[in-house]
């Protein structure tokens, strides 16, 4: 019997035959070994998705999964959305804050699993016991802001939480996101396009129920301590004031900032995109997701000039890096406007910034010309062209249709020489950290389960500070201990992703408190070691999923630019990664994980992690 934390039921919605089923969470999966969130999503995708399903076919599945601490007093909890990615063809989990996850729990569900494909546009309405598949003809074609507004108006309730797609998702742009509350997105891997392929425009949730807690006194005590610890943390204090935008000066100073399609690693316009600039000129208030004391979100407004009327939460670091510096643009107003456009049209800003920067480099090298771009002068720094391209991508107009396929597929259609500067790992466009000045980040990109991603491990802070683990020291550009650091961080982050806890508070909260909160909320009896083992278990399961879907060791490589073009200026001038060293790190990583030399988890390892069912 579930004692608390969980809502208790999982919703299965089949859009093909319009059947809706409610199943008991506990009967659906083993909570003791997968907990929830990413664990639940990984288990469902392994169990229920047939091998080699085409991501846009009706056989693909989308899972909206909360965790047992989502919606509670545990600081900063979120929701995990997972599917087989149309961009990478691999396991893809993307996370969204805001209030959607909590609302779903209050409605009485731990997760929603979407199967099949509707013949016509629909949206799913969930209000407590009442679950319906509703006509969405009137919403199709609308931007995400309007969709949310319309659904709230129709339901006469401003607290309805909506997860929806924009035109980009409808047009199957391979990096379309799912948007909630205007400014919070499950951004990466094209999850929005999978919704589009199912003719599912939105999921709208309202709940009036409650989450019960097994041991209220103990839970409240630990959760209050955790909230206090978060507020006392120095990194959090800075993030509270400046959000993620603060990172841009750091990365520019440290030669980590992708600039002009990762050609350079420091940007002369960084100051103009900095948190100080945004605080002075743009922000009006702080914003937080449900149960979060950090409030890293900043709401900004532009009242006059060319971009007057822009209101957007951000600009987040990744957007500043990829749509700003990486496109050679230093006007924050243009980046803010493009950011809002991406939010409305349904595009991931990391991938969008990447494909545009890639197209700009191709244009400057003469690989594509004004003939292909439809007259757009795609030079770095041309903000008007960047904004036009955003719209073209979202609507798949002209060259936008090629870019909408992502940087890997786009580069494969062009001159073969372009592939060496197509900045992706396993087809997922790289985020805002140049691996040439961070070997650890290179390994993190290589081994991340969803492709080139910064959220599974982020060894940069350890490399810069020189402090590895347990007081041992490392040199910034060396490869020593990177395998260990990356594995350790991946396991911890994955464990947190089962709860579902935000990465920004995890070190301040720490695994001990997470486990105490989990046990007090649910009545479980986990130890911190077992908790981290759950992270490792799920990491191995997503690995097995990816191998089943055809992941090869040859795919585990970085773009050629990282090995061939040295950084031209700044603290890491002359640096590039060495192919042999990267191979060495990877080999060490496989060994440490208990995987064979081709990166496949051994039967012994799988059995030890209670993943017997995944042994082939």
């Amino acid at each position: 019997m579930l004692k608390g934390g969980y809502a208790g039921e999982i919703l299965q919605i089949n859009l093909t035959d319009e059947k809706i089923r409610k199943v008991e969470t506990e009967k659906y999966f083993n909570i003791d070994i997968f907990i929830g969130g990413k664990g639940l999503a990984a288990y469902i995708l392994w169990k229920e998705l047939k091998r080699n399903v085409e991501p846009f076919s009706e056989k693909n599945i989308i899972i909206f999964a909360t965790g047992p601490l989502t919606g509670t007093l545990c600081p900063a909890t979120r929701m995990c959305i997972a599917t087989k990615s149309p961009l990478t063809g691999l396991f893809c989990d993307s996370y969204v804050g805001g209030h959607l996850g909590a609302e779903l729990k209050f409605a009485g569900y731990d997760a929603v699993v979407i199967y099949g494909k509707s013949e016509k546009p629909v949206y799913v309405w969930i209000c407590n016991e009442d679950v319906e598949i509703c006509d969405a003809k009137h919403l199709w074609g609308l931007d995400t802001f309007k969709v949310e507004e319309r659904i709230r108006e129709e339901r006469r309730d401003s607290l309805v939480r909506v997860a929806c797609i924009g035109p980009a998702g409808e047009k199957l742009v391979r990096f379309a996101h799912i948007n909630t509350e205007r400014y919070r997105q499950a951004g990466r891997g094209g999850i929005g396009a999978v919704m589009g392929s199912k003719n599912l425009k939105a999921l709208a949730v309202r709940g009036n129920g409650s989450i019960s807690i097994y041991n209220v006194e103990e839970f409240t005590k630990v959760a209050k301590e955790a909230n206090k610890a978060v507020l006392e943390n120095e990194t959090v204090k800075a993030r509270k004031r400046w959000g993620t935008a603060r990172t841009i000066i750091f990365t520019s100073d440290q030669d980590l900032l992708p600039t002009r399609n990762f050609r350079e690693a420091t940007f002369e316009g960084a100051e103009l995109l900095s948190a100080e600039t945004l605080e002075k000129k743009f922000w009006i208030k702080h914003k937080a997701c449900h149960s979060c004391p950090v409030n890293c979100g900043k709401l900004g407004v532009i009242r006059i000039g060319k971009y007057a009327g822009t209101i957007v939460e951000g600009i987040e670091y990744e957007t500043l890096a990829l749509m700003g510096a990486n496109c050679g643009i230093s006007n924050y107003e243009a980046v803010a406007y493009a950011n809002m456009l991406c939010d409305m049209l349904g595009l991931d800003t990391i991938s969008t910034g990447n494909v545009i920067a890639f197209a700009m480099e191709c244009f400057e090298r003469g690989i594509i010309t004004e003939k292909e771009t439809g007259g757009l002068k795609l030079n770095f720094g041309n903000e008007t062209a960047m904004i036009k391209l955003v719209e073209k991508i979202a609507r798949r107009e002209g060259i936008g249709s090629l870019l909408a396929e992502g940087v890997k597929r786009f580069s494969e259609k062009l001159n073969v020489k372009s592939r060496r500067f197509a900045m992706h790992v396993k087809a997922l466009e790289l985020p805002g950290y140049d691996a040439r000045a961070s070997p650890g980040m290179g390994l993190a990109y290589l081994t991340a389960d969803r492709g080139g991603c910064h959220t599974r491990a982020w060894p940069i802070s350890r490399e810069i500070s020189g402090k590895a683990t347990n007081g041992t020291l490392i040199e910034r550009y060396s490869i020593e201990k990177r395998a260990l650091i990356v594995k350790m961080e991946q396991d911890m982050n994955t464990a947190c992703d089962t709860l579902v806890a935000c990465w920004f508070v995890k070190s301040a909260v720490g695994e001990e408190r997470y486990v105490k909160m989990l046990n007090a909320a649910t009545g479980m009896k986990l130890t911190p070691t077992e908790f981290l083992e759950i992270g490792e278990r799920i990491w191995n399961l997503t690995r097995m999923f990816n191998i089943r879907e055809g992941l090869k060791i040859e795919d585990e490589t970085l773009p050629d630019r990282v090995f061939e073009d040295p950084i031209s200026k700044g603290v890491a001038a002359g640096r590039k990664l060495n192919r042999e060293e990267v191979k060495t790190m990877l080999k060490e990583y496989y060994e440490l994980r208990g995987w064979n030399e081709t990166g496949v988890p051994t039967a012994r390892k799988l059995k030890k992690l209670k993943l017997d069912f995944a042994v082939s």
């Binding site: 919606g71 509670t72 007093l73 209030h99 909590a102 209050f106 802001f145 949310e148 507004e149 709230r152 108006e153 339901r155 006469r156 309730d157 401003s158 607290l159 509350e181 205007r182 400014y183 009036n208 129920g209 409650s210 989450i211 019960s212 807690i213 209220v216 409240t220 209050k224 909230n227 507020l231 009006i284 208030k285 702080h286 914003k287 937080a288 997701c289 449900h290 149960s291 979060c292 004391p293 950090v294 409030n295 979100g297 709401l299 407004v301 009242r303 007057a308 009327g309 822009t310 209101i311 939460e313």
Partner: protein
């Protein structure tokens, strides 16, 4: 001197930790619909917490036909006598802030009673948007509906087109 929870609306981030901790303390479960404080959302990104202002001249007390609303002798907070309340909801209509709610399971109303003088919401608020203050005048002037406050904030921040949306 009466005390009340005062709100700095500009500071609220919409995290709703106040709702969570309120329902945990008062109901031993987590539920926004059982919270005495409510955070309403308005696009674009405006958050408005609504909590009882503990008006000196209290329409709710005056309206209640059952005399189910009284002052707590220690804190002067307006409190509900659950024995007397029949769930007629006249107080809800009378409240200028919309800070009284129905417990549909028990068919009685509930509202902020200041946690006996040490409100949990004030303690948890991570941005000091909530504070417990002694008020030497009638706090009724602070009792406003969420929509009105959202409109005022929108004007204060000169949001383009002065436009906020809500149902």
């Amino acid at each position: 001197m009466p005390i009340a929870v005062m709100v700095d609306y500009k500071a609220c981030t919409g995290c709703r930790l106040c709702e969570i901790v309120c329902s945990l303390r008062n109901e031993k479960e987590i539920s926004p619909t059982l919270s005495r404080i409510r955070v309403y959302s308005f696009a674009p990104g405006i958050d408005v917490p609504i909590v009882c202002a503990q008006c000196l001249k209290a329409s709710c007390i005056e309206t209640c036909p059952q005399e189910a609303l009284n002052r707590d002798p220690d804190t002067q907070a307006v409190v509900v006598n659950e024995e007397k309340c029949v769930g007629c909801k006249l107080c809800i209509e009378a409240c200028p802030a919309g800070a009284i709610f129905v417990d549909s399971r028990r068919n009685i109303v509930f509202k902020c009673e200041l946690c006996g003088g040490e409100p949990e919401c004030v303690k948890i608020c991570p941005v000091d948007a909530l504070s417990l203050v002694k008020v030497p005048f009638d706090t009724r002037i602070f009792a406003r509906k969420a929509e009105e406050i959202a409109r005022n904030l929108s004007e204060l921040w000169a949001l383009p087109r002065g436009r906020i949306t809500h149902a």
